[in-house]
Amino acid sequence: MLYYVLKRLLGAVLVLFGVTVLAFAMLHLMPGDPVRVLMSSMEAANSQTEIEQVRERFGLNDPLPVQYVNFVRRAATGDLGRSVLKGRPVATMIAEVYPYTLQLAFAALVIAMLAGISLGVLAALRHNTWADSASILVSLFAVSMPDFWLAILAILVFSIYLGWLPAAGTQGWQYLILPASILGVRAAGSIARLTRSSMLEVLGRQYVTTARAKGLRERVVVLRHALKNALIPVVTLIGLDLGRFLAGSVIVETIFARQGVGKLLIDSILDKDFPVLQGTVLVIAATYVLVNLVVDVSYAWLDPRIRYA
């Protein structure tokens, strides 16, 4: 088990380094002089001296490897540079909005798991009936819908037409319902699909038949014996979904006017505020890598067969 964890940890660290390389390289991959990219949102006049000043300030005169090392070194100590638009430290800007995104992501995960697992189990138990086909159809729709469109529809119905839920803002739990549900819909769809097929597979196994033969009530058979094992593959989906929530938060936070890492990211692209863009990309990707690492390890813990594979 320890060996497995160490192997996974090493892999994650390597990938993280790759991520930093990519985040760093973004500046130099942009068309044109990096200085111009950084200055594109500043109102300062482009005189030669000012260009040189910016170059010095951002260390662009050093050779690339040195720049990269400095980048990583600073990032490791929590310095992600300063916004060229607002002058504030990027790390602070991210730290301010990160909790909101986490809140959104967890709420979405809870909703997705509750809805997805119940739907999946229901479909498996009612295999080959209309309920089964209905839930397959529902999950298919869930996976095919563009989140921004679903969000708009939800606002139309629940906010404008019915007036039940607010459409924009961050304070309070009511503001969380719509965005979290939208974010969670697609995940609910894939969780439902996987739970259903996993459950169907488990229900056909010998230990389930044995449990029934022992005379246990059906409910005990399903809940105690079958469900636990059926849920194991679903755990891996959760890691993927959390990552997708981080990405999907861009759309949801924009539409529902919530603060968050996603909104920070898209705003930095539209405002051409490069340090913020770089820092946000790095943080989001790093989070995703870490989450997947945790999921990988917990999957091995849950299913002992994996550890020795």
Binding site: L140, I160, I269
Partner: protein, 306 residues
């Protein structure tokens, strides 16, 4: 494609390998069976019809749309769906139905372009990594793993930040974002197939590496590639429209479905139709592609799994 029809060199080819070579179903027969099974799948039929409709819209946009998609007419601004304007008009008086029809062209262009990039480059890399293994495998797959460390939309966003706005950038961004997915799937399939008997048989007979890859490996990893392609088309359409929705993709006044959905976002209370119809089209297209994908998976499953 027939397996190499050499007279079995009885001395160098062992009986089992020769038999495996002979028993492999000819690819031509396999494809026809797949097609038949696909068409029997109800959902896939629906999907094919919808996709065909979208293609017709895209090709015949200039003939089919009743109005010029960018012609403004403030007199009829923001009018609800009616006989004259089946999907209503937007704030500039442009007919939404016409814009939706023209948008089909853009969506198809993006889907085809992006998937072409992802599929060809990804498959190539996956084939190389899976077949060569060892150092080349690591050299190719490590960067792929790094790219996969970014959730889908995020990678496309980061790429479009670099590439800028506009249709070409969207195609490139979504295309590049998909390469690691294809590479990984193809590599896995190649590693699976590689150890099969007919490959060993071909190597025994002395077939050069290129021929092995082209004639033996490729047809048999085709199934996962096809499945991945349909999945990626769905993803490409969704992501491209998301990018345009967010403002970093196709720019107005070009009638792209995602951009159109965004345009109606702030006037929902006044005019629900401006956002609803373009978004509906996106959903229908993606649903259709997913249904076709499901049908393909069922059709390919019993057959090409050698």
């Amino acid at each position: 494609m027939q397996p190499s029809s050499q007279p079995a060199p009885a001395l160098t080819l062992d009986a089992a390998a020769a038999q495996a070579l002979a028993e492999r179903p000819t690819a031509g027969r396999a494809w026809r069976g797949t097609l038949r099974r696909l068409l029997r799948h109800g959902g896939a039929r629906f999907g094919l019809v919808v996709v065909a409709l979208v293609v017709v819209m895209a090709l015949g946009a200039d003939f089919l749309s009743p109005y010029d998609p960018i012609a403004q007419n403030s007199a009829v601004g923001l009018s609800p769906p009616s006989l004259a304007h089946p999907m209503g008009t937007d704030e500039f008086g442009r007919d939404i139905f016409s814009r939706v029809i023209h948008g089909a062209r853009l969506s198809l262009l993006v889907a085809i372009g992006a998937v072409a990039i992802s599929a060809t480059l990804g498959t190539l890399l996956g084939l190389l990594a899976g077949y060569l293994q060892g150092a080349s495998d690591m050299l190719i797959m490590r960067p792929m793993d790094v790219l996969l460390a970014f959730p889908g939309l995020l990678l496309a966003l980061a790429l479009s930040a670099i590439l800028g706005t506009g249709l070409t950038s969207v195609i490139l961004a979504v295309g590049i974002a998909g390469i690691p997915n294809f590479a990984r799937i193809v590599r896995g399939a190649v590693m699976n197939v590689r150890e099969n008997e007919y490959v060993l048989a071909a190597r025994t007979v002395g077939a050069p590496g290129g021929r092995i890859v082209g004639r033996h490996l490729l047809p048999n990893v085709a199934a996962p590639i096809i499945v991945m392609t349909t999945l990626y088309v769905a993803f490409a359409v969704l992501t491209a429209s998301s990018l345009s929705f967010l403002g970093v993709g196709v720019q107005p006044p070009t009638p792209e479905w995602g951009a159109m959905t965004n345009a109606g976002r702030h006037i929902l209370r006044l005019a629900w139709w401006v956002s609803t119809f373009p978004g509906l089209m996106i959903m229908l297209l993606v649903l259709a592609v997913n249904l076709i994908g499901d049908g393909l998976r069922d059709a390919l499953d019993p057959n090409l799994r050698v």
